[in-house]
Subunit: 361 residues, 4 copies
């Protein structure tokens, strides 16, 4: 693993390890994957404006998110079914995240229960990604387990009233293996057998509304982040309906194709929130400079999903840890070369739109 020097290397290493079905499931997006590609490309449509002679000898990547310190403004995004790529699964990811000093966001669709992850890696910090169910008792049971297990925030996914059209899965015929259930949901349902992903989606509430969100927020002391915001309008509505913040996200390009890249939405979301909550963003982050651009545009932090999953696939918990450390190192370097002693010093004056290319023979 020592010869893997950037996220692209880890992606390549993971691709060589995983079979086509699993690889397609995690790597793929919806439709023609326009948004999938755009997510990565869009960060490159900004250029950094570094400042010189700032007089700093040290640079810290540590910052605060939702009032608590993390070693870097790079968090681990919720990713379902992590045991598909490595037997350590979510527990390995939790170990890596804890060692890296940042926050892991555990998916409702994790292959390990929140309580188990907490027990295995008690020193880690965690948020819980929540899907809302038609039966509110199920939702409540999921929340309670997370709260009881010391999770510090709820990340409510709002962009999946239905699943996207993921054509790679249609072509490979990939299906989640029979034995791999959704233990958190099984526990919430009191089910004694594995629940399939199709069953799970069938139980979810498609008709979520801002009223639901407001009720959810008033039902728990934990801060709630609304994940899946892609417009200024919804960014404002989120903080006006009790959210502690938002995650600008298009579900990694996996839900609706041809929506905007998150890098293209971030600014308007930040402006709409007007400091009334945290603004996080995921999608397409592959470099420390991508993180620096997101911070300069006003994000409090970013989440990375596929990069750490490739790390987990390529080298288990240690692989995921290396990816996080690699990104942290790249961000620290970017801060230092931008003349910023800390993430908070990055401002919009540090970025500018890249010019369009022109004809060349």
């Amino acid at each position: 693993m020592d010869n893997l020097i950037n996220v692209a290397d880890f992606e390549q290493a993971a691709a060589e390890k995983l079979d086509a079905g699993v690889r397609g499931y995690f790597a793929g997006g919806a439709g023609d994957e326009v948004t999938l590609g755009e997510n990565v490309a869009a960060w490159r449509r900004w250029r950094l404006r570094p400042r010189m002679l700032a007089g700093h000898a040290q640079w810290r990547t540590a910052t605060e998110v939702l009032g608590a310190e993390v070693s870097m403004p790079i968090l681990v995004a919720p990713v379902a079914y992590q045991r598909l790529v490595d037997e350590e699964g979510e527990i390995g990811m939790a170990q890596a995240t804890a060692e890296a000093g940042t926050v892991m966001c555990l998916s409702t669709l994790a292959t390990t229960r929140p309580s188990e992850v907490a027990a295995a890696v008690p020193e880690g910090r965690r948020w819980f990604q929540l899907y809302c169910f038609k039966d509110e008792m199920v939702t409540r049971a999921l929340m309670d387990e997370a709260i009881d297990s010391g999770f510090e925030a709820l990340v409510v996914t709002v962009d999946a009233p239905r699943g996207g059209k993921r054509e790679r899965d249609l072509r490979t015929g990939f299906r989640i293996p029979e034995g791999l259930g959704v233990p958190s949901v099984e526990a919430a349902l009191g089910s004694e057998r594995a629940v399939t992903i199709e069953e799970t989606f069938g139980l979810m509430e498609p008709a979520l509304s801002w009223t639901h969100l407001e009720e959810l927020a008033s039902d728990t002391a934990l801060p709630i982040l609304v994940k899946g915001v892609l417009t200024a309008e919804d960014a404002a509505l989120a903080v006006e309906h009790g959210a502690a913040g938002i995650v600008v996200s298009n579900h990694g390009g996996r839900q609706l194709d041809c929506v905007q890249a998150t890098a293209d939405v971030l600014s308007e979301a930040v402006d709409a929130v007007e400091g009334r909550g945290a603004v996080l963003v995921d999608g397409g982050i592959r470099r420390g400079t991508d993180v620096a651009i997101a911070l300069a545009l006003g994000a409090d932090a970013v989440l990375v999903g596929r990069p750490v999953l490739w790390g987990l696939a390529a080298g288990g918990a240690e692989g995921a840890r290396r990816v996080l450390e690699l990104l942290r190192g790249e961000l620290e370097l970017a801060l230092s070369l931008c003349g910023c002693a800390s993430p908070a010093e990055l401002t919009r004056a540090h970025v500018i739109r890249a010019p369009a290319p022109v004809y060349s023979a």
Copy 2:
């Protein structure tokens, strides 16, 4: 056919079935095919701005066009000589359209007469695409057959005072087979032998004017759509001269190359019509997200030509039906993920121009 999961797959399957001449005739465009390619690309120059937490549990694609309900705002465009790709020809297409619950627009250059199509698929809804002839009695005879056969609207093609320069046909040497006449025209002429396409074009009126259109509109109770509008100016003139609406169209890129893509014209046409008529659009629609973008820009509906023709070529009526159902499904998914319960809820706030790409090494 079960492994064909999107329109591109049907295009590929059709390409494998058809010989080069027929394939080129339907797939090709004018000149360097700049507009042909642009038609498809231009929908991708828009991005969707989906709204979350809309609170809908169901999504309907059904809508009204020209005052009558269709199962979806996706109609079947007029395409000439459909028997070239499948022996069922226009009757197969009519069956597919009827089963899909939408409207078929039959071409003057169809290989089946309007009355025959009506007799074969009486439950279907149909419009008639009309070319105007120098001899007004021929035009009248065509209209009368359509009216008598229960066609609900006339779609007058105005962008073909002359045929485009289609270089694929010049290269393959493709010609419409001798036996394949234009029965609607033959009937209108009282001809007992097959009339060739060259003869038919020779009989058409190249010098159509807005006065002609106004007279035509006053001569019939059926609504008239002007097909081939590519400017705000003509969009306004159309509704001011008796048209019930327009079809923004560049004839699938087959007439004049280097005209604008229809997706780039749609907004100005909608603005110019100012609600005084229906605005439809064709050209380059390949995905449900393309339809959603067209609706958001103000179209009442879209027409698809090549996609259903590839369906017909790949699998007869059932193939065409699947393409329609596939597009309907993709549109329903797009609506749901945009937070819209119906097509009418899509507005210009749901779309934004995509940014230009930038240099990457």
Copy 3:
């Protein structure tokens, strides 16, 4: 030759006939050939806005340039050393031009004298492209031969105080063959031996000024066109110093690389001339739609060089004639499909900038 259906086909056919040195000499441009490629690409950065139902049954390409009628607003640009591609050389080109009913501009560097071309093709219309020499008597002798031979205008090239860096020639080692002199210059000099191109350029006046132009204009009754204008500033200066018009030209991308494409300069030149003279343009015209766009932007006519040279190379005078007829036909078709009965009806409302492309996976 019957299977050559567009200019690109003729280019390909010529490329197969010519050896690498000659091909490179005519096809190549300066430096990295950025401008060479841009000249062609830039016409494609405009889109046509065709108007419908204009009521025309006939379309004429004939127009007036400098007060005299031509069969089409497409003239033959000055191209040096035409006998390099075909033994008929400039006389073949003159025959083709005369048959096509348009104007040929004969180069000072032609391999046939003006008087010989006039004698061989007396029915043709011709302009003379003039390089100015340090010795004014040489310039005067060149002008006199052209005037005496019935040439109707002088086209003064102003963009070549020095020759461009043409790297294809440096790589192929191409040199004009010994025997191929510059007979017009030889006659003007009274030289009895062939004069090389290097000698000829050595005799030219590099320090031409607007005063020179004004003197030249006052010395002759023939209209003078200034060829090589690439700015609004120079366009205005030209008509203010006695020119009857300008040719917006970058010498086919052969002089200074990275100057603007002529399609990108045309509008500002037209605006600057303010109707005080004719505005012609050359560079990158390959299609009738390119001509239509140039006319819509305000050009009185275009000149084509390489297209007719490929015609001459591929099939002698008949080849060049076919290229001209092919372009005329494409222009007539473009006029008809734009709703214009004649070139003069094309206006800026018929064109719009093409949008930039966007990311696609």
Copy 4:
């Protein structure tokens, strides 16, 4: 070497001579090399607007930089470890520069001491590129040697508080050979053994500030240029803190990836300096037209690094000299074809942004 006709040819020739490690060290950039590529591409995003009939018969490339005349506004940028590509190293480069009549900027990380270069090529003109060290005595010793050796200016690099992430070196495993020390630093330190590059960077001051710069400027009579400016803000601060000028530079794309190309920064830097100092620029200059564009945008001169290094690698001092002469010739040609008798005549009216490209099939 006679068949090398442009900088790209020299780059190719050098690539064939150098082993992968050395080639990667000099050719490579930071991260994904976005900025490395952009540096070259960005000059091509401008187009020249040449003026005609300017009346000049001669064109001079000579100009003044920092009050002294050079044969051309093209200087030799500081490049470390030049003996890696040719045994003549910096002395060969100094000979080439002197013969070309321009200025060489010697790197602190040169493999030859300033005094040795001065002794070997006494007729040359030289500036010294200075890294500041934590121990001010070291910095002072470096400065003194340069001053005593007749260097005419100090170029203080400010964009390297830390080294960039150069992935080519990580992949090839390239390291500076043991024996190749940094003699200027060794002398300043009084070290008797070779000092490695890692040691040298460890001794440098990362926390440089504008106060440092001001002190440095007041400590020496030599003019100081601040190299590494990428914003208008820093351009203004530089001249306000005692600098005689700036070098707009991103360290050849080797420090922080995704910063702007220098061609995209130049205008704002020129505007911010407001004539209060010299503005130089490096990065991506490969053609005389690139130089002309930089001058038109307001640069006093450009520096070239890789081009002359490829020259040195391909053919020693003579190779470097040829590259300089080649660029001078191209610039002279560009001046003449722009209608400018000297570099000073180029203004912003001579350039315009290139349009974005558009779709082509």
